[in-house]
């Protein structure tokens, strides 16, 4: 019975995590939507342009090596309507980005959410506000 309960809850959790996948088109196979990676680092570039706004950041690995990651968001029109602009994130800013990483292991991802130093969460894809389709 305990096993059954655990299984049900696990299935429910998986469904919730995977839900945004069903709402979007065309990018699912490029990124591993079942995996989440937490990137802590410094923004190096904000590419506020279509087709998808991209944020680049330097991330220091456990071995001390710095890798430049990039994660994509929705397009400029959609982000603008959600209240964001090219100065929402600035070069040099320290952020934590939670992303679904590239299925091929490249330092690329699709945003799940961005956490600012004060703990505020922005550009979250989970609430449907930053759809990448």
């Amino acid at each position: 019975m305990k096993k059954l309960l655990t299984s049900f809850l696990l299935i429910a959790a998986l469904v919730v995590v995977a839900a945004p996948l069903f709402a979007h088109h065309g990018r699912g196979a490029t990124y591993d939507m079942k995996k989440e990676v937490m990137l802590k680092g410094t923004i190096t570039e904000v590419a506020w342009r279509n087709p998808h706004v991209a944020i680049y950041m330097d991330v220091k690995g456990p071995d001390g090596k710095v890798t430049n990651w990039a994660f994509e968001n929705s397009n400029v029109s959609t982000l603008a309507r959600q209240g964001y602009n090219r100065n929402t994130l600035k070069i040099g800013e320290e952020i934590t980005a939670v992303v679904n990483p590239s299925a091929q292991g490249a330092p690329r991802g699709i945003v799940v959410k961005v956490i600012l130093p004060d703990g505020k969460e922005i550009m979250s894809r989970g609430s449907g506000a930053n759809p990448v389709d």
């Binding site: 506020w48 602009n85 090219r86 100065n87």
Partner: protein
Amino acid sequence: MRNRSLFLIPLLFVLLSLAAYAQAPAAQGKFDPHDFSGIWLRRGGDRGISPKAPPMTPAGEARMKLNIPARSRSPLAKAPDDPSTSNDPAFSCNPKGFPRILIDTAHDYHEVVYTKDGRMLQLWQEERRPREIWLDGRKVPSGENLDNLGPAWYGHSVGHWEGDTLIVETVGLDDRAWVDLFGFPKSTEARVVERYKRVDADTMTVQLTLYDSKYYTAPWESDVKTWKKQPRDKVTFFGWYGLFSGAGELICAPMNANGVNKHGG
């Protein structure tokens, strides 16, 4: 007495005819100098802002040296022997941007229409591009607002009247679009002021000034560009009146440009 008056009538007729002939080059008919509605064809003025640019700043020169135009006007940006090696962004279907879409032509069309909420729209046949000029009393964006908006290929344009001259100010322009086909650059700090005047029923003139102290040591004033209003039959193609149809398809599509439009222009 009678003989003299008989002579005067034909003389009067001749004088009146001469007067009418002298007026003939200008269009007849009344017009509202505050109304630019209609389809206009470019008919005069340099294809750059003007034939000679003001001296450039070191930053402007450095920027210009990166450009390889198909036609050159400055040793800073020379045209190669093979124009297909030009890196003019417009040749690969990046937008011409403003002010290039207005100045870079000897003969192209746009239509002016007005909206009820105070906009003058220029509908450019080239690129199928609407350009909004706000006449609703707003100011051009500036400061933090402009910085947050960021650059747009066609910028943000606001106009107001001074007598019979429409003054249009444009800011927030994308610096990746060249000023003209000769490879002159503009920075994101560029501000363009246009002065529109309806000279007669068929003629509109535009004079513009580029203010860009990052790249130019002085404002760059243009010559007068002339536009002629087109009668309906001149812009009706195979029964279809208007600028946008199969006959007027001027969207730059990369699948057309690649291999087909290598020589640009």
